[in-house]
Amino acid sequence: MSTQLATLRDDAQIQFVTVRIAGQLFGLPIWAVHDVFVPQRITPVPLAPAEIDGVLNLRGRIVTAVNMRRRLGFPLRDADEVEIAVGVDYLGETYGLLVDEVGEVLTLDKSRLTTKPPNLDPRWSAMTDGVFSLDAELMAVLDVEVVLANIKEEASA
C-alpha cells in the first residue's frame, strides 16, 4: 500500500479521482493527481516499453504518456475512441496516465477500503491498494507509484 494511504487514520476521509479503463472503475488518491487533460499529439518513442505511448507537451513540460489499458492488460481501444489523460508526478517527473474516462471525485471513508481478493491477477494485485465496494460496482484503488515503478523495472530488466 502506498505509504501515504497507509499512514492515514482509519476514520480519515479520502478523496479519489475516479477513472474508467475498459469499463472498470479505478480510483486515484486525489493527492496523486495534479491535472486532467486531453492528450494531443503524442510523439511515439521507438524502443520504449510497450506501455509507453510516447511523449507530449503539456504547457512546456514533457509528459510521458502511459497507456493504462496496456498496463493493466486490457484490450487496446479503437483508434476513434477518445482518451483522456490524468497527470501524475513520479520522482519529480510528469506522467500522463491514458484512461477512457475521468469521472467525479468521490469522498470515501478509509474504513470502507477492503483488501484485495487473493485470487486477483498478481499484476493487478501489485498495482492496487485495495478495493472499495460502491453501491453499483467495485472501485480498485490504483497505486500510481507501483504502476510506474514496475514499468521501469520491467524495461531495464
Partner: protein, 933 residues
C-alpha cells in the same frame, strides 16, 4: 580580482546580511544560545577564510569579535554594551569588505586597534562575575537596546572619539555604515544593504523604517552631530554619497545567487512565450496587411533575445569548477614533496550550472589522485629520464552534445599487475578470468568500491573510497568515466558528461514517418542518395556503405535501428531514396540514413523521464517551435550501435562456425508466404495441423477473426493487415494448439515442408521474426510464432494466475539460441516465468545470485559443461537437489535416456516434442501448485 576573493566577498556579503538579521534578534533576546551560535559561526567563517586569503585587518577584527562571542557562548552574561560592541565589529567588517570590493582586493588603510582593544577588554570584563562599569565601556546611552540604528551608530562614533580610555584617540575605522542591524529587516534589497556608506542626506528616509520597527527609539540627535560623525569617519570613502553607493551596488551586484529552480521556471515560461510567439507569427503570415505586424516583429525579436539570455543564465564556464584546483594542487605539491605543473585547457567550455556543481568534487578527487598516485617522486622521475616537474593536465571540450573532461598526468601509469592481483584478492574476478582480461578491462577495476592500490594510506588519498565515488557522482548526472593508461607514460581519465540542459543547434530529420533531432555538433555534411544519382548506397557483404570521396562510409538506417521501418523501405533495402547525415563522433565517421531532412532549429534538451532512460539511442527530448515534442538522437549511442553491429557481425560468423563444426541444426520447417513475397517458415514441430478454409467461413467479431472449427470457435491471427485482406478465396492456415485451445495462423500460401540443415542469423528482422536462414537456397524469415499469439494465449496465463498461484519459474538452459527463442514464447504463453541461459555457467550466475526455480529444462549436448554434469551438480546441492529437471535432447536413444535418469534428470524429452514437454512441465509444477494453494 582573484576569483577566489570575489567568491569570498559574495559569500561574506551574504553572511553579513544574515548576521544583520541575527543581530537584531540577538539584541532582543541576548541569552538565546541558538542565535548566538549562528552569529558565532558566521564570524568564525569570516575569520577562517580571511586568514586563508591573507586579509590581516579583517582577520584580526573577526578574531577579536569571535573571542568575545566565544565568552558569551561559554555562558558569560550578555550585556547590552557588549552587544553593541559586536555590532560595531560587524560594521567594521563591512567597511573592510567594501574597501576590498572597491580597491580591487586590497584592504584599505586603517587601524583597528581601538575596536580590537575594546573587544579584548570586553572579553576580559565579561569574565568577571560582577562587572563594574569599566571605563572602556561605552556610555549606557550608546548601547540602549532597541535604539534607532542610525542614531546608535552616530552615537557610537561620537562615543568612540570621546571615550577617554580609548587606547588611541584614532577615529573609528568603521565607516558611517548606514546598514545598521535594524535595517536588515527593511525592504531594501540585500545587496544594497551591504553597501556600507550612505550619504547623510539619505539617512532620514532610510532610518524611517527602522524607527517604525523600534518603538523604543529615543529622540534622534541633532543633524549637526550626524554630519560631524560622517566627516569624522576617515574610513568612509570620499564618495560616500550617491556615487559610492552606486558604485558599490554596481560592484558585487554583478554576481548574485539565484535559486536554480527560479531559473528553471523562467526557462519554462520563456519556452511558453516562444511557442505563443510562433503561433502569432503563424497567424500573421495569413494576414499580411495588419497593423499588428510591426509590434509583433518587435515582440518576436525581444522574445528571441529573452530566450537567449535566460538560456545563458544556466550555462557557466567549466573554469568555475577548476578555480580552487591550483591552490589545492599547490598545497598538495608541498605536502607530497612533488613539484607539479598544472595545465588547464578549455576553461571557457560552457556547461550547465547544476552539472558543474556536481563535478567539482569528483574533479578534485581525481586531481588529488593524480598527484598522489599518478606522479612519481622527483627522484623517481629523474631516474626514469623524465622532467623533475610532473605535469597534470586538465582539458575540456564539447563532443556531440557531451562535454569531455580529461585529467591526465605524465606519471608512472596504472600498475596493471597490482590491480589484477587486488581484483582477485577482493573477489571481483577469479584468477583464471583475471589472466584473460585485457589491460583496459583490468584498469576498469579501479572504479570498484573499496579499491586502492596505494601502498600507504596518506592523508591525501589511498583510502580506497576515491574512484568509485567519482564514478558514482559522474553516473548520477548521466556521465561516464574511463581510464587509459600506459606504463611509465601516465594515465588519462576521460569524463564524459551530457549537457543536460543546453541549447543545441539540431538538424530535424524524418525517418519512419517520425521526426527526430540530431545535434548539429556531430553532423559533418548531408548527402542526398537517389537512384541514378552520383551517390548511392551499396551493400558490402551485408553492411550498407556509401562511397564518399574515396572513403567507404558505413551507413546505419535510423528507422531500422529504431525498429520503426515501414515494410516498403525495408524491402527496398539500399535502393531507397534517402539522405545520409554524415556524422563524426570522436574519431569515428559514419552515416545515418534518413528519409528526409527538414530544417535546423535551436533546441533545448530536456531529459527523458526515468522510465525511458534505458533507451540509450536518445539523449533527451525537445519541444519544437510548433509545440510538438520530438526525440533527440544521441550520436554517441549511434556510434556505439554502429560498432556493435560490426562486432556482432563478427560474432555471427563465429557462431556460424561453431554451428558448422557441430554439424549444423537439422529440423523440419514449414515454409509459407504471408504478407509479402519472401518465404517465411516456422518449425513444423510447433504446428498441430494444416487446414484450408473458405474465406467466407471466416467471421469477424469485434475486430477479431474467428472460424468454426471442430465444433468450437477458433481465433485467427495474421502476419499483417495486408495478409488479412488479400482477397483470396481459400485461406490456408496453420493450427497451433495449447492446453486444448486452438488458434489459427492464416497464411497466403503454404510452399513446402523441408527438412534440412541450416543456420539462422538472429535479430536481423523486425518484431515477430526470430531471424533469417537460407532454406532451399532462398533467404527465409523464421517467425517467432509466440509473437503472433500472445493476446489470445494470454488468457491461459491469466487463468493459471487466477487459480491463485504465481507463475512457476522455469530455467531453460540451451546453447542453441534458436531453441531458446523458439521455446521461450511457447513456455511463456503456457504460463511459465522463463529465465533463459545460453549455458551452464550462465545458469549458475542466476543460481548464485539467489534465483530459485520451480523447474529446470536443460539441453544435454552443450559445449563446456553438458547437461549430465549440470544435473549432477544440481542434485549434489541440498538447495537444488529436489528440483524437477527435464532433459531436452535430440538424442532419443534408450541408452541416452537411461544415462539421463542415472544422472538425475526427472524426465527426458525429445527436443521437438513440445506437447510432451508441456505435459511433463505441467505435471511437475502442478504438484507444487497443489502444495501452495
Amino acid at each position: 580580482m582573484d576569483d577566489l576573493l570575489q567568491e569570498f566577498l559574495t559569500e561574506t556579503n551574504e553572511s553579513l546580511d544574515l548576521v544583520d538579521a541575527e543581530l537584531v534578534k540577538f539584541e532582543r533576546d541576548p541569552n538565546n544560545a541558538d542565535i548566538l551560535g549562528n552569529i558565532f559561526r558566521l564570524v568564525h567563517t569570516i575569520k577562517g577564510t580571511s586568514g586563508f586569503l591573507g586579509l590581516v585587518r579583517l582577520g584580526s577584527v573577526a578574531h577579536a569579535a569571535e573571542t568575545l562571542m566565544g565568552r558569551f557562548r561559554d555562558g558569560a552574561p550578555v550585556k547590552p554594551d557588549a552587544v553593541d560592541l559586536v555590532m560595531q565589529s560587524i560594521d567594521r567588517v563591512k567597511g573592510i569588505i567594501h574597501d576590498l570590493e572597491t580597491n580591487d582586493g586590497v584592504e584599505g588603510e586603517g587601524d583597528d586597534s581601538d575596536l580590537i582593544g575594546a573587544l579584548e577588554e570586553m572579553a576580559e570584563k565579561v569574565l568577571q562575575p560582577d562587572p563594574e562599569p569599566a571605563p572602556a565601556a561605552p556610555e549606557p546611552v550608546a548601547v540602549q537596546a532597541g535604539a534607532d540604528a542610525d542614531d546608535d551608530l552616530d552615537e557610537l562614533e561620537r562615543l568612540f572619539r570621546d571615550t577617554p580610555v580609548d587606547p588611541r584617540p584614532a577615529p573609528p575605522a568603521a565607516p558611517a555604515s548606514a546598514s545598521a542591524p535594524k535595517k536588515a529587516e527593511s525592504a531594501t534589497p540585500p545587496r544594497a544593504e551591504s553597501a556600507p556608506p550612505k550619504s547623510s542626506a539619505a539617512e532620514p528616509s532610510a532610518a524611517n523604517p527602522a524607527a517604525v520597527k523600534s518603538p523604543a527609539s529615543r529622540p534622534a540627535p541633532g543633524v549637526p552631530a550626524r554630519a560631524e560623525a560622517a566627516l569624522a569617519s576617515r574610513e568612509a570613502p570620499a564618495a560616500s554619497g550617491d556615487d559610492g553607493a552606486a558604485a558599490s551596488r554596481g560592484g558585487p551586484a554583478q554576481s548574485i545567487r539565484v535559486n536554480v529552480d527560479t531559473l528553471e521556471q523562467l526557462m519554462t515560461m520563456v519556452s511558453e512565450l516562444v511557442l505563443t510567439r510562433n503561433q502569432l507569427l503563424d497567424l500573421m503570415r495569413r494576414h499580411e496587411e495588419s497593423e499588428f505586424k510591426v509590434p509583433l516583429q518587435r515582440l518576436s525579436q525581444v522574445t528571441a533575445e529573452l530566450q537567449e539570455a535566460v538560456m545563458k543564465t544556466r550555462m557557466q564556464p567549466i573554469g568555475n569548477a577548476w578555480q580552487k584546483l591550483p591552490r589545492i594542487l599547490r598545497d598538495l605539491s608541498r605536502d607530497l614533496g612533488k613539484p607539479i605543473d598544472l595545465q588547464m585547457l578549455g576553461a571557457d567550455t560552457e556547461l550547465d550550472r547544476q552539472v558543474l556543481e556536481m563535478i567539482k568534487d569528483p574533479l578534485t578527487h581525481m586531481i588529488r589522485n593524480s598527484a598522489d598516485h599518478g606522479l612519481e617522486t622527483p627522484a623517481e622521475r629523474v631516474k626514469a629520464g623524465k622532467r623533475e616537474v610532473g605535469t597534470i593536465r586538465l582539458s575540456a571540450y564539447h563532443e556531440g552534445g557531451h562535454i569531455i573532461i580529461e585529467v591526465s598526468d605524465d606519471g608512472r601509469g596504472l600498475n596493471t599487475a597490482r590491480i589484477r592481483e587486488k581484483a582477485v584478492k577482493n573477489g571481483l574476478v577469479s584468477e583464471l578470468e583475471a589472466d584473460k582480461l585485457s589491460d583496459a578491462q583490468v584498469h576498469a577495476f579501479i572504479f570498484h568500491a573499496g579499491f586502492s592500490t596505494a601502498d600507504a594510506v596518506t592523508s591525501v588519498s589511498g583510502r580506497g573510497v576515491g574512484m568509485d565515488v567519482v564514478r558514482t557522482n559522474i553516473e548520477v548526472i548521466g556521465g561516464s568515466v574511463n581510464v587509459v593508461s600506459r606504463p611509465g607514460q601516465g594515465s588519462t581519465f576521460l569524463i564524459k558528461i551530457p549537457l543536460t540542459l543546453a541549447i543545441v543547434s539540431a538538424l530535424i530529420v524524418e525517418s519512419g514517418n517520425e521526426r527526430f533531432a540530431i545535434p548539429q555538433l556531430a553532423v559533418v555534411e548531408l548527402v542526398r542518395v537517389q537512384k541514378g544519382s552520383e551517390h548511392r548506397i551499396e551493400r558490402f557483404k551485408d553492411a550498407p556503405v556509401l562511397r564518399l570521396r574515396d572513403k567507404l562510409l558505413p551507413i546505419i538506417y535510423l528507422d531500422q535501428l529504431l525498429g520503426i521501418g515501414s515494410p516498403e523501405n525495408v524491402n527496398a533495402g539500399v535502393a531507397r531514396d534517402s539522405f545520409v547525415v554524415v556524422m563524426q563522433v570522436g574519431n569515428r565517421a559514419f552515416g545515418i540514413g534518413v528519409d528526409n531532412v527538414l530544417h535546423t532549429e535551436e533546441i533545448v534538451i530536456k531529459p527523458v523521464s526515468s522510465i525511458l532512460r534505458h533507451v540509450s539511442m536518445f539523449s533527451g527530448t525537445t519541444i519544437l517551435g510548433d509545440g510538438s515534442v520530438i526525440m533527440i538522437i544521441d550520436p554517441n549511442s549511434m556510434a556505439q550501435a554502429m560498432a556493435v553491429s560490426l562486432t556482432s557481425g563478427a560474432a555471427h560468423e563465429e557462431a556460424q562456425k561453431a554451428v558448422a563444426s557441430k554439424g549444423g541444426q537439422s529440423m523440419s520447417l514449414i515454409v509459407f508466404r504471408a504478407g509479402s513475397a519472401e518465404p517465411k517458415a516456422v518449425p513444423l514441430s510447433l504446428v498441430t495441423r494444416l487446414e484450408v478454409f473458405d474465406a467466407e467461413r471466416i467471421e469477424r467479431v469485434t475486430g477479431h477473426d474467428l472460424v468454426q472449427y471442430r465444433g468450437s470457435l477458433m481465433p485467427l491471427v495474421y502476419f499483417d493487415e495486408s495478409s488479412r485482406n488479400n482477397g483470396q478465396k481459400e485461406r490456408p492456415l496453420l493450427v497451433f494448439t495449447d492446453h486444448g485451445r486452438a488458434i489459427g495462423f492464416v497464411v497466403d500460401e503454404i510452399v513446402d515442408i523441408v527438412d534440412e540443415e541450416f543456420t539462422i542469423e538472429f535479430g536481423s528482422g523486425g518484431p515477430g521474426i526470430v531471424g533469417t536462414a537460407v532454406v532451399r537456397g532462398k533467404a527465409t524469415e523464421i517467425l517467432d510464432i509466440g509473437h503472433f499469439l500472445p493476446s489470445n494465449f494470454a488468457a491461459i496465463t491469466t487463468q493459471r494466475a487466477a487459480a491463485g498461484a504465481e507463475r512457476p519459474r522455469l530455467l531453460l538452459v540451451d546453447d542453441s539460441a534458436f531453441f531458446r527463442n523458439m521455446l521461450a514464447p511457447v513456455l511463456g504463453a503456457a504460463g511459465y516465468d522463463v529465465t533463459l541461459c545460453a549455458g551452464v555457467s550462465e545458469a549458475y550466475s542466476h543460481l548464485d545470485a539467489g534465483a530459485r526455480f520451480d523447474v529446470v529444462v536443460s539441453d544435454i549436448d552443450m559445449p563446456d559443461v553438458d547437461g549430465f554434469t549440470f544435473v549432477e551438480q544440481l542434485r549434489s546441492n541440498p538447495d537444488t537437489a529436489e528440483w524437477p529437471v527435464v532433459a531436452l535432447s535430440g538424442l532419443g536413444t534408450p541408452e541416452a535416456i537411461e544415462r539421463g535418469r542415472q544422472a538425475g534428470f526427472t524426465d527426458y524429452i525429445a527436443k521437438f516434442d513440445k506437447a510432451g514437454l508441456l505435459a511433463a512441465l505441467d505435471e511437475f509444477t502442478a504438484s507444487r501448485n497443489g502444495v501452495v494453494s
